[in-house]
C-alpha cells in the first residue's frame, strides 16, 4: 500500500422518497405497498402512454443541486437511455445526460472524515426514473413495478477520494443531506441508496493531478450498502495491488465488475469493448422547460437547516461536545426529536445526555428507530422535569423510562402507578425529621463527638416514607435540625 495512491470516484443513486407520486407517472411513490399495486399504464409502457414530469421531484432535485454548489441549467431537458431489460418496460429509461445540462453540474461538497475536513468535486447530479425491482430465484424471477418510475437522483463525483474511509464519509454526509433536506429517507435497507464505485491505483510518486498518470479504471456496479462500499473498495485496492506486484497490472483492461456480497469479492462483468451504447437522445414528449431564476431562488430559500449547521448550533449555543453533537445529527429523526425537546423547554445538555446514552443505547440495542418507541419529545421533557423538580430521583427516572416503553403510558402515569413520587416538600419532611431526631437525642451527643450519624437519620426517613423522600432535601433538613441543637 505504501507504494501506491488510490483514486476513488463514486456514483451515488438515491431515490427521492418524499414525493407523493412517481417522477413521470401519477402512481404513488411508496416502497412499502403490496407488489405491483402502485402502477399506472405508463409505468408498464403500454402503447400510447406518455411521461408527465412531477414538478415536486424536479424541485427536490434542484434543491440537491443547490446544496452541492452545482450550476443549474438554463433549460431542463430529459433524455432517453435506450436498452432492453425486463425491469424497464418502455425499453428506455428517462434520465438526464450531461449534454444538455442536467439539474446540476460542477459542484463541490465539504465533508468530515475522521475529524478532518475534506472536499469532493461533483461532476454532475441528475434526475431520472428508477427501474422495477427484480428478485431472482432458482427457477423463476419476480418483478415489482412499484419501483418503476420512482424518482432517482444520480450523483457523480470526480475521483477525489483516497481511501474507503473518505468515500464512506462522503456517502454518510450525502445521506444526511438527503434526509435533512426532506429529499429522501435515503435508507439503504429499503434499497433507496445504491452505489457504483470507480477504483484505480497509481504509483505514489506520480502527480495525481495529471490524468495520464492515473491507473486503469475499474468500475464496481451495484453496491447496495455503505459497508459494502467500504469492503468493495478495500478488496479492489488489494486486488489491483496484487496485480501490480505480480506484474499482471499492465494487462488489466478498463472494466466493469460487480460486488458479490456473499463471497466478499468483485466479479468481472464486461470490458470496455463491450460497453453498452445507450443511444441517448432528448425525450420528445417532455418539452424543454425554461428554469426561472426566481424559482431557483425560492428553492434555495426553502432549504431546511442541514446537519452541519445543526451541529454547529449544538456546540456553539448549547455547549455540547463535538462528540455528542456528532451523534445527535447522525440521524435526522434523532436530531428532530432532540430539537423538539429543546423547544418544549428542556435543558439542552440534560436532553442531550438522555438522547446519547439511554435512548440511543436502547434504540441501537434493539435496532429500532425513534418513531418505533412510545417515547415522544413531550414525555422526555416531562421525565426531565420530574427529576428536576425532585419528584423522582435520577435513578428512578431510568426505571420510568423503560416503563413508559413497556406500558405505553405517560411518565406521570407511570410514576403514579409505581407509587414512586418523591416527597419533596419541606412541610411534610421537617416535622417528621424533628420527631425522629427528638426520639434519638442520644445520637446528637455521639455526633458532636465526631460520629457519622447522618446515614442513620436518612435511613430512618426513608424507612418511614418507603423511600420516597427527596434525598438531598432530607439531608439538608437533617443537617439544619442537628445544627440547631
Amino acid at each position: 500500500m505504501d507504494k501506491y495512491k488510490v483514486l476513488i470516484g463514486l456514483e451515488m443513486h438515491c431515490e427521492i422518497s418524499e414525493t407523493n407520486t412517481k417522477v413521470f407517472s401519477s402512481a404513488e411513490n411508496s416502497y412499502k405497498d403490496e407488489p405491483n399495486s402502485n402502477v399506472r399504464p405508463v409505468d408498464l409502457g403500454f402503447p400510447g402512454t406518455l411521461p408527465v414530469v412531477n414538478k415536486e421531484a424536479v424541485k427536490k432535485a434542484l434543491m440537491a443541486s443547490i446544496i452541492l454548489n452545482c450550476k443549474q441549467p438554463e433549460f431542463i431537458y430529459f433524455e432517453r437511455k435506450n436498452y432492453y431489460y425486463p425491469d424497464l418496460p418502455k425499453g428506455f429509461q428517462i434520465t438526464q445526460e450531461t449534454k444538455p445540462a442536467p439539474v446540476g453540474i460542477y459542484g463541490e461538497l465539504e465533508y468530515e472524515c475522521n475529524g478532518e475536513m475534506k472536499k469532493a468535486r461533483i461532476n454532475n447530479i441528475h434526475l431520472e426514473e428508477d427501474a422495477a425491482s427484480t428478485d431472482h430465484y432458482s427457477r423463476y424471477s419476480t418483478i415489482d413495478y412499484n419501483r418503476a418510475g420512482v424518482p432517482l437522483l444520480e450523483l457523480v463525483t470526480y475521483p477525489d477520494f483516497r481511501s474507503a474511509d473518505e468515500a464512506v464519509a462522503f456517502l454518510e454526509t450525502m445521506r444526511r443531506i438527503y434526509q435533512y433536506a426532506g429529499i429522501s429517507e435515503a435508507d439503504s435497507r429499503k434499497g433507496q441508496v445504491r452505489c457504483d464505485v470507480n477504483v484505480s491505483i497509481m504509483d505514489k510518486d506520480l502527480d495525481e493531478t495529471k490524468e495520464e498518470n492515473w491507473g486503469t479504471k475499474v468500475e464496481i456496479k451495484n453496491v447496495n450498502s455503505f459497508s459494502g462500499v467500504r469492503d468493495a473498495i478495500n478488496y479492489e485496492i488489494e486486488r489491483q495491488i496484487e496485480a501490480k506486484e505480480n506484474g499482471t497490472y499492465d494487462e488489466m483492461e478498463q472494466q466493469t465488475r460487480r460486488w458479490d456480497e456473499a463471497s466478499m469479492t468483485t466479479i468481472y462483468m464486461r470490458g470496455k469493448v463491450d460497453a453498452i451504447d445507450y443511444k441517448y437522445f432528448v425525450e420528445p414528449n417532455i418539452p424543454k422547460f425554461k428554469l426561472a431564476e426566481s424559482w431557483v431562488e425560492e428553492i434555495r430559500k426553502s432549504i431546511p437547516v442541514l446537519a452541519n449547521e445543526r451541529k454547529h448550533t449544538y456546540i456553539e449555543e448549547y455547549g455540547l461536545s463535538n462528540y455528542d453533537a456528532t451523534i445527535l445529527v447522525k440521524e435526522k429523526s434523532i436530531s428532530d426529536f432532540y430539537e423538539e425537546t429543546i423547544k418544549l423547554g428542556a435543558d439542552p445538555k440534560t436532553s442531550s445526555n438522555w438522547m446519547t446514552t439511554v435512548i440511543l443505547g436502547h434504540l441501537n440495542k434493539y435496532e429500532l428507530e425513534i418513531k418505533d418507541i412510545y417515547l415522544t419529545p413531550e414525555y422526555l421533557v416531562e421525565l426531565i422535569n420530574l427529576v428536576e423538580k425532585g419528584d423522582i430521583s435520577s435513578k428512578q427516572s431510568k426505571e420510568v423510562f423503560y416503563k413508559i416503553l413497556e406500558d405505553k403510558k405517560s411518565p406521570s402515569e407511570i410514576v403514579k402507578s409505581l407509587g414512586m413520587k418523591q416527597i419533596g416538600d419541606e412541610d411534610t419532611l421537617r416535622p417528621m425529621i424533628v420527631k425522629i431526631i427528638e426520639e434519638h437525642l442520644d445520637l446528637i451527643e455521639e455526633y458532636r463527638k465526631g460520629r457519622n450519624v447522618f446515614d442513620f437519620f436518612v435511613g430512618q426517613v426513608m424507612k418511614q416514607t418507603r423511600g420516597q423522600a427527596n434525598p438531598s432535601l432530607t439531608a439538608k433538613i437533617i443537617k439544619e435540625e442537628i445544627d440547631k441543637r
Binding site: P41, L44, G45, F46, P47, G48, T49, L50, P51, V52, V53, R80, N82, Y84, P86, P89, K90, G91, F92, D277, K279, Y280, F281, P284, N285, I286, P287
Partner: protein, 486 residues
Amino acid sequence: MKYMTKSIEELHALLKEGKVTSKELIKESLERSHEVQEKYNAFVTILDDAKEVEVTDNLLSGIPYGIKDNYSTKGILSTGSSNTLKDYVPFFTATSIENLEKAGAVAVNKTVLDEFGMGGTGTTGHTGTVLNPWDKERMCAGSSAGSACAVAAGVYPYATGSDTGDSIRKPAAYCGIVGYKPTYGMISRYGLFPFASSLDHAGVLSRNVKDAAIVIDNMKGIDKNDMTTWDSKDVHLYESIDGKVEDKKLCYIKEICDIENYPNASLELKEHLENFNKALEKCKKLGMEVEEVSVDKTLLNALASVYVVISCAEATSNMSNLTGIIFGPRGEGDNYIDMMKNYRTAGFSPLIKRRFVIGSYVLQADNKDRYFHNAQRVRRLLVDTWNKLFEKYDAVILPVGSGPAKLLDGSKTVLEEDDTTALEEHLQIGNFGGFPSITIPDGFVSNLPVGLNITGKCYDDANVLNIAYALESVMDYKDQIAKEVK
C-alpha cells in the same frame, strides 16, 4: 346509400328534425362498412354492436365515424395494424377519442394503417393491403389508408387519422378527400400509438373543410397526460370559418411547383401541376395575393433524409416497449432475450425492421452527430425557412405528390425521370414545424383525384382552414364520393 354520403352539418340537421335516427345512421354505416371491407379491405375491426346515442346540440352527436387502429380504445381491439399487437385490447381510451365520445360521436370501425403508421402505401398492415376506392389497382397511400378509403367510399363523414410525415394528407389526396392535421399539441397524443413523437400528430379525414373543423374542435384540448398539449379553449375552428380571404397572401415554391424543374415530366405530372396552377388562379379570383418564392434547392433536397433519420431514430426507441412480455403475444424462448427476439422477429414486417436498423444506426455514439444531430440541424433550418415565409404570407400552397394514386403493382408505375423528391415529400415540413396543414382535392388526373396542400404557421389553424374553405367553395370537389373508374 342514403345518408352516409352527407356532411356532418346536413346529418345533424336531419337528426335534429327527426328525419332520421342515430340508430338508422349506424345501421347504414355498418352495412356500408361490410361492403367496403369486402371490396377494399379498409378495416381491422367492424363494431357491429355500436349503439346509438342521444342527439344533442353537438354537431357530432349520433353520427358514426371511424377510428384509425393506432388509437387506443378501451375494450376494443387496437392493433396498430401489427402482428405484434394482433390481440391487444387496451384498458384505456385515447384522450382525443374520449373527447369525441363525450361529443356523442359513435365509432363503427377501426381502420387499417401501415404498420404503426410507418409507411406511405397502405400495404403493410397485418390484415393486408387497402385498395383505392377509385381504382382497386391503386394504393390509397398511407398510413391512414383505411380511414381515407372509408371516408371516400361513403362509410361515414369522417374518420380519425394520424400524421407523422404525410399520413393524413397524402391518402386524402389519393382518395379525393380532405385531410387535416392541426398545430402540434392542439390534440392530445395520449393513447395514440407513437411512431416518432416529435413528428406525430392526430388529425382527421373528411369530405369537406367545415367537417374537418367540427371534428378537430371536438378532438382537441389540453390534456394532463400529454405535456406537449396547449390550451386551445379560445380556438373555435368551425365558428371562425367565414370564407373571407380577400386580404390573404399565399406563396408557392418555385423549386417544387415549376414545370421547368421537370424537363422529362410525365403527362400525369404535367396535368397535376396545371391543375394546381388553375387552383392558384381561383385563389387570385377570390382576392388573395399569390406569389412565387424561391427556396434553396439543397435544403429542399435534404428534407427526405432528415425525415428518415429523425423518424426512424425516434421509432426505434418508441417501439422498444414491444417485447411481448407485458402485452402482445409472448414469444417462445428459454430466457427473456430470446423471448423478445422471437416475438419481434415474428411480429414486425420487413419494412419496419429496416427502419429500426436505420434508427439504431443513426443514434449510435459514433454516428449520432453525423446523422441524428445534423438531421436536427437541417430540420431547424427548414422550419426557420418556413417561419420566414409565414412572416410575409398567411400560408404556403403546394401540390400534393407528383400525381394521382400510384399503382399497387410497382412494376407498372411509370417512374419520373426527374428528381421529384421535394414534390413528393414536402408535406413532412408540416411535421418538422408542427404547422397546421390541410389537403383538399383540386381536380382529376387520368380520371383519378389529386390534391393540393395549404400549410400555415403554428396556432394559425383558423386562418389555414378559412383559406382552404374559400378555395374549396369555388372548386367542384367538395363532398365527393369515390366512384370506381375502372
